[in-house]
């Protein structure tokens, strides 16, 4: 009788530890990583309907089977609206293969969780920017500026801009 009790206790202990250890990751997501962007050779997801190409940095699957996309920004500080918009676009691309419903945008110090809604909801949030990218791809310089000291200091083409803060 004691042996049966002991064996059952050990099995329960093992199951609890395995479930618990599966929750350990830097993003505190209760689940396992199922996909990772490992650089240029990692194929992006393509949504042909909305003509969006993208890839999140990580994809996790929770214990309940929920797909969670993660966009990691290596800087410290707040999450910008542009980080959120990029994440929404990459989730729309990911929807071509996985039913992602939740996304996480993380800097080294901040975390923002996004509930994604439908494909149409995502598209409505990003379509204005998608149109601007298509315009720029045709060689037009867009005369719309969003200057701020923090943004302009980190801008990669600051030297070419006459409106910089």
């Amino acid at each position: 009788m004691f042996e049966v009790f002991l064996t059952a206790a050990v099995i329960i202990f093992i199951v609890l530890i395995i479930r618990g250890s599966g929750e350990q990751n830097p993003f505190d997501i209760k689940g396992k990583e199922i996909w990772r962007d490992e650089g240029k050779h990692t194929k992006a997801f393509v949504n042909h309907h909305y003509q969006i190409v993208g890839k999140p940095d990580h994809i996790f699957e929770s214990h309940s089977g929920e797909i969670i996309a993660v966009e990691f920004k290596s800087r410290k500080g707040r999450v910008y609206e542009s980080d959120i918009v990029q994440t929404l676009a990459s989730c729309l691309a990911l929807r071509s293969e996985m039913d992602v419903q939740r996304a996480l945008v993380c800097t080294q110090t901040t975390k923002v969780e996004l509930n994604l809604g439908s494909d149409q909801d995502l598209w409505e949030r990003i379509q204005g920017y998608a149109f601007q990218v298509k315009t720029a791809t045709q060689g037009q310089v867009i005369q719309e500026y969003r200057p701020s000291i923090a943004k302009c200091q980190s801008c990669s083409v600051r030297a070419h801009c006459w409106r910089k803060s």
């Binding site: 004691f2 042996e3 002991l6 064996t7 050990v10 099995i11 202990f13 530890i17 395995i18 250890s21 599966g22 350990q24 990751n25 830097p26 990583e33 990772r36 992006a44 003509q51 969006i52 190409v53 993208g54 890839k55 940095d57 990580h58 990691f72 920004k73 290596s74 800087r75 910008y80 542009s82 980080d83 918009v85 990029q86 994440t87 676009a89 990459s90 691309a93 920017y129 998608a130 601007q132 990218v133 298509k134 315009t135 720029a136 791809t137 045709q138 037009q140 310089v141 867009i142 719309e144 500026y145 969003r146 980190s154 801008c155 990669s156 083409v157 600051r158 030297a159 070419h160 801009c161």
Partner: protein, 80 residues
């Protein structure tokens, strides 16, 4: 417009949200500053470190499983 031009990258959409003018300057060939290139390189390194952290956590999980299985085996030998 070519088929390739019709598709839009999520990262470009993010850059347009950051600043449409800066995104379009990059698209028409404005070169990124050396400082920005160095920042991007550091960012890639941080991304790799994050991947290694996740792998290390997964490795720890396997070690825990092996240790627990060993304990279970020892108990079985002692009382089985």
């Amino acid at each position: 417009m070519s088929k390739k031009q019709q598709y839009v990258r999520a990262s470009d959409i993010g850059r347009a949200a950051f600043c449409p003018h800066a995104m379009s300057l990059s698209k028409v060939g404005a070169k990124a500053s050396d400082d920005a290139k160095a920042r991007m390189q550091r960012g890639e390194e941080k991304h790799q470190e994050m991947g290694q952290k996740i792998d290390a956590d997964r490795g720890r999980e396997k070690v825990v499983i092996v240790i627990l299985l060993c304990i279970a085996l020892m108990l079985y030998i002692m009382f089985g």
